[in-house]
């Protein structure tokens, strides 16, 4: 439901970032993996930031059967 909206995208990225942080905080990772996770986290955070910075309200208007007379 509303999977392709900016908010849904943001939430997916944010959740992924949370998972990355959780895994890093669990803290029993090989160095290479924690480096990899960190890079991934930095990219996810940047993607979230980008979404917030560039967001513009998307407006769509529906046609309703008993709507107003078109004038």
């Amino acid at each position: 439901m509303s999977e392709n909206t900016p908010v849904a995208t943001y939430e997916t990225l944010y959740q992924q970032l949370q998972e990355v942080v959780n895994r890093l905080e669990a803290g029993t990772l090989p160095l290479e993996e924690s480096l990899h996770l960190y890079e991934q986290g930095v990219q996810l955070a940047a993607a979230c930031q980008h979404l917030l910075d560039t967001a513009e309200l998307r407006i769509e208007q529906l046609q309703v059967g008993m709507g107003e007379p078109a004038d």
């Binding site: 908010v7 917030l52 309200l57 008993m66 107003e68």
Partner: protein
Amino acid sequence: MYILTVTEMNTYLRELLDAEPVLSDVWVEGEISNFKRHTSGHCYFSLKEGDAVLNAVMWKSYALRLGDLPRNGDAVLAHGRVSFYEVGGKLQLYVDTLRAAGVGFLHAQFEELKQRLDTEGLFDLSRKRALPLLPRRVGIVTSGKGAALQDMLTVLARRCPLVEVLISPCLVQGEQAPGSIVAALHTLYATDVDLIIVARGGGSLEDLWAFNAEEVARTIFASSIPVITGIGHETDTTIADYVADLRAPTPSAAAELAVPEQAELRLSLAALRQQLNTAFAINIDTRRRELAAAHDRLRHYNPAIRLPHARQQVDDLLRRAEAQLQYGLTLRQTQLQGLQAQLSALSPQATLERGYAVVRQATNGTVVTQSTQVGSGETLVITLRSGKLVADVVELQAEESA
């Protein structure tokens, strides 16, 4: 059959009317006529409908609450009690509230519907749903042309441009408005919006009337999606407001309540970003400490460091071996001395010391132990404790038999 005085009759009529509950709390709709405001401030008038006339009086204390004094010909809705005025012999409506009939009637309708739906449970707080913290798509039911829509879009764009908006336009006033609002709601119910705003800009009570329609209330009640209302101004409350999950005082306020400030998202993102850095730093630090610990262990096993230790072990062993050897030597020396002592005890020297002598044949050194070994005249060497004698055998004597 009774015979009554006029006073008794009028008193009886008054008491009869006063005991009737319907007459003590009643709305009467009619047209104002013969309106007179006495210098005392009390107002006297009649309510008329065709040929039917009802006398009415409104005491000063109630009349002062009226904004504008009614004029003859105004259609009104008057509230009060009906009683019998004994002095004038008149039946009168004692008015405490006077409303223009249109509005007053609507108000009475409103109260009736509100009461009924409330009893049915349409306004129960227990069924008010929480709004999504961050809606993905917000549906808006309002006029496509009103300033209210623009106000809401401005608020949404300012607060949280990340959300999507789906506008479901409808009529917001007039006879067709309730049906139009219901249709617009149903259109949104078929979409994937996760929050609906039902809004209308300010207007008169009649202008907002569509939002008091029962069908609108029931359609909102049936929604599976949370609904916020923002209808009219602060002071206006419609039936739709009572049914909605959340009532906002105005359309703009509804938009404010619909979405969080994007700044809040920025804050939580910044916090999570910081958490990422900290978690990574801790990870690296842990690895660093593990490395240091491993390095320490490695040093422990380093032969360069272990060699002096081994050397010391060898030295220790050597020292122990030496000591062992020394001990063995000392032991043997002691044993030797013992043996020497034993030996010297057994040597002929000791015998010689005691005065004995050893006799050997001069020719071959054979020790002479019996006389038959030697011949007469043979040379013998006699060893004494000190010095030797060389002697010739003068006579042989055989061993005396015992």
